[in-house]
Amino acid sequence: MAKKATGGLAAIFHDEKQILQAATRCREMGLSKFDAVTPYPVHGMEEAIGIKRSAIPYVTFVGALIGCSVGLFITVWCSAVSWPINIGGKPMISLPAFIPIMFELTILFAALSSVAAFAWLCRLPKMDPVVIDPDLTSHKFAIFVPEHDTGYDSGKLEQVFKDLGAAEVKRMAEY
């Protein structure tokens, strides 16, 4: 799913509340592909934009199951199949003793697969991406509407954002 960078309209705000209003407004106007750029996760932004709950937990669950099975498989196969050695008269498949290993591998696989899923879903790492404004990672907030969004009308949007108190409205050639 290689997406070409598209152009669009970006509005920069100085206040957390204004950007929430702007996001709600965009959604009411029928836009759906727009995004907000904020220095920290803004409370209520998911609802305002209409972002669905992240799918990462499903990956974590599968990763955890795989980790646990791998742990069970290595311990049992190494100790009871590949080269069985009697240690202190314990049974070949001494399950209670294998639980720590299974547990640690469950956590390890779950954590690493979640991070991989995160990177894939966010398309990270990105090489030197275009930035709307360098202050967006510090104290400013922005709404970006791509030009291929349904009902995109740059003149109308610019007016809407200005009315909502945007400090700056920028046309981006690509983002």
Partner: protein, 454 residues
């Protein structure tokens, strides 16, 4: 309604928070930092030389011998691993409990975890005696059979626990820093700085869709780290508890070790935070006296839990009716040749933290600094007591013997602080020491402007 205290002092806005936290990374270091760094680095070089000697000449340089076959290296390993636990407790467990005060100390505590685990990890690797064969610890396909590792051994569980802990802690720490690296990149004035922080930030731009995934990932990693951190010290305690030796063979070890780990870790956090507050005065608005007070309360609580465990060990030894158990605790440990170490431990871990009953003491920086140092000493001695006093007199009086402490024992212990402090001081200069993105949402907490906290 109980009034909430402000989590961030002073009249801050979003921009001044960014400026404050980025300042140490963006300005040349001052004299104080340089002095500390030169000291730490000299100690690190000394440590490298000592470890070189130990590797070249062998473990015989240290005092370990029959019957005390586990000595400084194992004691100091458990000590450093324990230190690491407080970082994960602050960053993961307090996150799950929605303790908002954690945000300003989490980053540095997590860094402490990573460096403490790195420092700790060296010890068992060297204690094997032939560190160049340490890859034997992992089950890899080989041409000797294949001959596998013994999965029933607690020492092998430790290999898995500590390496998983190190990996997950580093990942958790790094993921937390990604948005802050993007901030540093966007503020960068020169190209090299921009490139380095740009690469570290992975091209993070802070879009709402990415934040949604990011918050979910952070929650998941916190949820995974929580059982992990409890399992790690549990497994470390199994190294002792699974053995048959009186003094080690007790079921109380896992919770006792975890409480002790949190105790010592918080003491180290307090030690480091008092120093960070002196070195970077602008952080006093983020790491406030309220934060320090809360941590001191945790120190006192866990200190009493540890004290309870000490008492419980004696009770169970008496209640078991077993003469060897009774001998180890009532004769050998409390009144034997190592009684001094036992009483140092009791003083430092149980008695001294009691000063925190008084609010004035909890909120006094010099007092908490001194107490935290005593706790660190006491917790090192706790592991010394467990390891050495249990080993030095076993079932056969003919094989009794004392630990032959040598110069190299002291040198590896003190040298390890060189490694830890060098890493920590470098961290303070190249990474944002307070989480920029996490602190901003707690800015309104305790402020009377109508939308404070939710």
């Amino acid at each position: 309604m109980i009034k909430r205290n402000k989590l961030i002092l002073g009249h801050k806005d979003l921009k001044s928070i960014t400026d404050d936290i980025c300042q140490p990374v963006e300005t040349p270091p001052g004299k104080g930092w340089l002095t500390l760094f030169l000291g730490a680095k000299t100690l690190l070089i000394f440590y490298i030389i000592i470890l070189g000697c130990v590797i070249a000449k062998g473990m015989g340089l240290l005092g370990v011998n029959h019957p005390v076959a586990w000595g400084t290296m194992i004691i100091t390993f458990v000590f450093w691993i324990g230190i690491g636990h407080a970082g994960t407790l602050i960053s993961a467990i307090l996150f799950l409990f929605r303790q908002k005060w954690r945000t300003s100390v989490a980053r540095t505590a997590e860094a402490m975890t990573v460096f403490a685990v790195m420092t700790a990890g060296l010890f068992p690797l060297l204690h094997t005696g032939r560190p160049w064969l340490d890859f034997w610890l992992f089950p890899y396909p080989n041409q000797r059979g294949p001959l596998w590792v013994n999965f029933r051994s607690p020492l092998l569980w430790d290999v898995f626990a500590v390496s998983t802990y190190a990996t997950v802690s580093i990942v958790f720490w790094y993921i937390g820093m990604v948005p802050d690296f993007a901030t540093l990149k966007d503020r960068a004035k020169n190209q090299i700085r921009r490139k380095i922080y740009g690469a570290l930030s992975l091209g993070w731009r802070g879009s709402a869709r990415n934040w949604s995934h990011y918050e979910m990932l952070y929650l998941l990693l916190a949820g995974l780290s929580t059982p992990l951190v409890l399992s790690v010290h549990t497994i470390v305690s199994f190294d002792f508890a699974v053995a048959q030796l009186p003094g080690w063979h007790t079921t109380i070890f896992p919770p006792y070790f975890v409480a002790g780990a949190i105790f010592s870790g918080f003491a180290m956090v307090v030690t480091l935070m008092t120093l960070v507050r002196i070195g970077f005065p602008q952080f006093k608005d983020y790491i406030t006296i309220d934060h320090m007070e809360v941590m001191n309360k945790i120190i006192m609580t866990t200190g009493m839990m540890v004290g309870y465990a000490y008492a419980s060990e004696f009770f169970v030894a008496w209640y078991s009716g077993n003469i060897y158990e009774r001998y180890v605790f009532f004769v050998s440990r409390a009144f034997g040749p190592y009684a001094w170490s036992y009483w140092i431990m009791i003083c430092c871990n149980v008695l001294i933290p009691q000063v925190f009953w008084f609010k004035k003491m909890r909120r006094s920086i010099p007092v908490m600094f001194v107490v935290s140092i005593f706790v660190n000493i006491g917790m090192w001695f706790e592991r010394y007591v467990i390891t050495v006093t249990s080993l030095h007199r076993d079932f056969l009086p003919s094989s009794w013997g004392n630990y032959a402490w040598s110069f190299f024992d002291g040198a590896v212990l003190f040298g390890s602080f060189g490694l830890f402090l060098t890493l920590f001081l470098l961290y303070l200069r190249v990474m944002p020491a307070v989480s920029i993105a996490e602190v901003k949402p707690v800015l309104p907490v305790g402020r009377d402007d109508g939308h404070g906290g939710h």
